[in-house]
């Protein structure tokens, strides 16, 4: 399938985000134009303060842009309120964080089940789908282990399972291997690559070139703008 036949899943024009520290304006994203296609694996790179994380938060509906337009699946979403964005995140986005962000003292299965709880999925179905997601990341032997009983790589796999459980349109990965050794990092990247092969759209933020190399496309950012795509 050629790139031109795919739809533009995310389209942003002149997207800006400015934070205010008292009366001082801190521009974090200064006018970004970008199209990401369905099924793409895109990596954002750039030094810290380049705005790549802020851009990802905007693309993942975690934050509202200050100005500019953003359409997701051809729907303009820049004016959505917080609750609507929460609903949209729940239905369409999966998150994988550098720090995993698993609930402590909660089993892998229950951690993975969490997004389904907010989606109002029936209890029995929650467990079935959480099991299925954990099977996809190869953790069926750790269903009832708590995060402190799991290795870093296993924890990140739980968090990938949690991101997948709602069958998201886009998987956002913020430095997914930042806390892992290189061997484990490779394992995680292999899982992400496999998901990409299955057709999942992945947007990843990283500052490691060998991790970014797994992506189809690398977007370099500096000072809140895209400098190379």
């Amino acid at each position: 399938m050629s790139a031109s036949s795919k739809k533009g899943l995310l389209e942003v024009h002149n997207l800006k985000k400015t934070y205010w520290n008292g009366t001082v304006a801190i521009p974090a994203v200064r006018g970004v134009d970008l199209t990401i296609l369905e099924g793409e694996f895109v990596a954002f790179m750039g030094p810290s303060g380049s705005g790549k994380s802020t851009l990802m938060n905007l693309l993942a509906f975690l934050d509202a842009p200050s100005s500019g337009s953003y359409s997701f699946s051809a729907v303009n979403i820049e004016d959505f309120d917080e609750d609507y964005r929460a609903e949209l995140r729940n239905a369409t986005i999966g998150f994988v964080f550098q720090q995993f962000h698993l609930l402590p003292r909660t089993t892998a299965l229950d951690n993975v089940r969490l997004p389904l709880m907010y989606a109002g999925v029936k209890r029995k179905l929650q467990k079935e789908r959480a099991y299925e997601a954990l099977r996809r990341v190869g953790l069926t032997d750790r269903l009832f282990h708590r995060p402190n009983e799991l290795s870093g790589g296993q924890q990140q796999r739980v968090s990938i399972a949690r991101a997948l459980v709602n069958n998201p349109t886009v998987l956002f990965c913020d430095e997914p291997t930042g806390n892992l050794d290189s061997k484990t990092a490779e394992e995680i990247m292999n899982i992400l690559s496999a998901l990409h092969q299955d057709g999942v759209t992945i947007i990843m933020v990283t500052h490691e070139p060998d991790i970014a190399a797994y992506a189809d496309r690398i977007i370099h950012m500096k000072d809140g703008k895209i400098i190379k795509s």
């Binding site: 975690l62 609750d83 929460a86 609903e87 998150f95 964080f97 989606a119």
Partner: protein
């Protein structure tokens, strides 16, 4: 969307994870609710018991005594209740509801049977003493009008005294010595755990004429130290009492109320006073418990604020994966409500347990009293309501704080 059950389950999981802290936080609520339930249940049990005791002797009775019997010199000269008064009151046109009067003297005399010797309060009265007080004869007979007329040396024992002296032996027909004089026991009344004004004393009843002849002074032949005036049930007790007081003052030509030597006291009034006192005690304890609940509530708020702070990242994560503001709000609100409700339930159990134990203890110490444990459903419902309300009031601020957190900032919180 999310069912309340899910919130409660999540809350329970959180509370179990912090067992020690949860229990300590609940203590204020447990103590507050526990003491309210304890005092309410105990108060109702006491009230129920005292009411049953009073009504055993008939609430349609007004007692008349002398002010002097309250500590002043009882031998002082002056106005005294007389047997003539008794007849005059019975005949009075303004007291049509009056049915009977028991009147007489109480003397304290030695009571001897074989080797037993103790002190007893001897009531010298007419046979009305049994009907007005509602004393039931369980063995033998009461003394009667001809016993009074002939100053017969007969005595009726209170069940308590009979048990103390005779044990299982039948006292009827036995000779006993009262104040050194031989009397024949003709009957025994039901055991009165406490009669009017005779708490803890051994009691016996004799014809008034016999008591006056053997133990009285010559000048007091015609006087009585108390009257128990019985009236028809359903009578306006206050009005009757007022007319009775008026009639007594008229009979003794008393114009100045300050010099009125007679004390008129209805048992109905006594019950009302007792009720008021109990209510006062319950109110006071409830107020103290209220302070405990307030302090407990502040403790809940404090711990919930700590919880929100500790779980900032969790809140960020929950919001990132789709929790709405209200979802987070309810999660924390229900956590605090679950905390206070469990505290309330434990408090209720504690209060009920303690009051049950207290009633049981009284029954062990005073097996005759037969105090019943009174369950107060309304107090339980109120206690539950109060627990939930405290959870909402003191959980709201921390819950709002949690709901207002921005997902990104919360996720980054260190």
């Amino acid at each position: 969307m999310i069912k309340i059950f899910t919130y409660i389950q999540t809350a329970l999981v959180q509370l179990v994870k912090n067992k020690g802290r949860s229990i300590l936080t609940m203590l204020g609520i447990i103590i507050g609710i526990g003491s309210v339930i304890f005092i309410m249940t105990l108060g109702e049990s006491a009230k129920n018991f005292l009411l049953s005791q009073f009504s055993q002797f008939g609430t349609n009775v007004i007692e008349v005594g002398m002010q002097s019997s309250m500590g002043l010199d009882s031998s002082a000269d002056g106005e005294k209740l007389t047997l003539d008064d008794v007849q005059a009151l019975k005949d009075s046109a303004i007291l049509p509801e009056l049915t009977d009067i028991a009147a007489g003297d109480i003397v304290s005399e030695t009571f001897e049977y074989k080797k037993e010797k103790l002190s007893a309060n001897i009531y010298g009265d007419s046979p009305a003493v049994f009907t007005v007080n509602n004393f039931k004869i369980i063995q033998g007979r009461a003394f009667n009008a001809s016993d009074v007329a002939s100053s017969a040396k007969v005595v009726v024992l209170d069940g308590g005294l009979a048990e103390e002296v005779f044990g299982t032996e039948n006292p009827v027909g036995q000779k006993v010595k009262i104040g050194g004089r031989f009397m024949r026991v003709v009957g025994v009344t039901e055991k009165t755990s406490f009669g009017p004004g005779s708490f803890g004393f051994q009691m016996a009843y004799m014809p008034i004429s016999t008591v006056k002849q053997l133990f009285g002074e010559e000048k007091n032949r015609n006087t009585v130290s108390y009257m128990l005036i019985q009236f028809n049930k359903g009578t306006d007790a206050v009005s009757f009492q007022n007319r009775l007081s008026y009639e007594l003052r008229r009979l003794h030509n008393i114009t100045d109320e300050a010099e009125n030597p007679f004390m008129v006291f209805s048992r109905d009034q006594a019950i009302r006073i007792m009720d008021t006192v109990l209510l006062g005690i319950q109110g006071f304890v409830s107020a103290v418990a209220g302070i405990s609940l307030l302090v407990g509530g502040i403790g809940i708020m404090n711990i919930m604020l700590v919880t929100v702070k500790e779980r900032t990242k969790e809140i960020g994560l929950r919001k990132a994966i789709g929790a709405k503001n209200n979802t987070v709000l309810f999660q924390f609100l229900i956590e605090s409500v679950v905390l206070t409700t469990i505290g309330g339930i434990v408090g209720i159990a504690l209060g009920l347990g303690l009051s049950f134990g207290a009633v049981a203890l009284v029954n062990v110490l005073q097996p005759d009293w037969g105090v019943a444990f009174v369950f107060v459903p309304s107090a339980l419902i109120i206690a539950c309501g109060v627990s939930v309300t405290i959870g909402i009031i003191f959980g709201l601020y921390p819950a709002i704080k949690a709901a207002k957190l921005h997902p990104i900032e919360a996720l980054r919180y260190e």
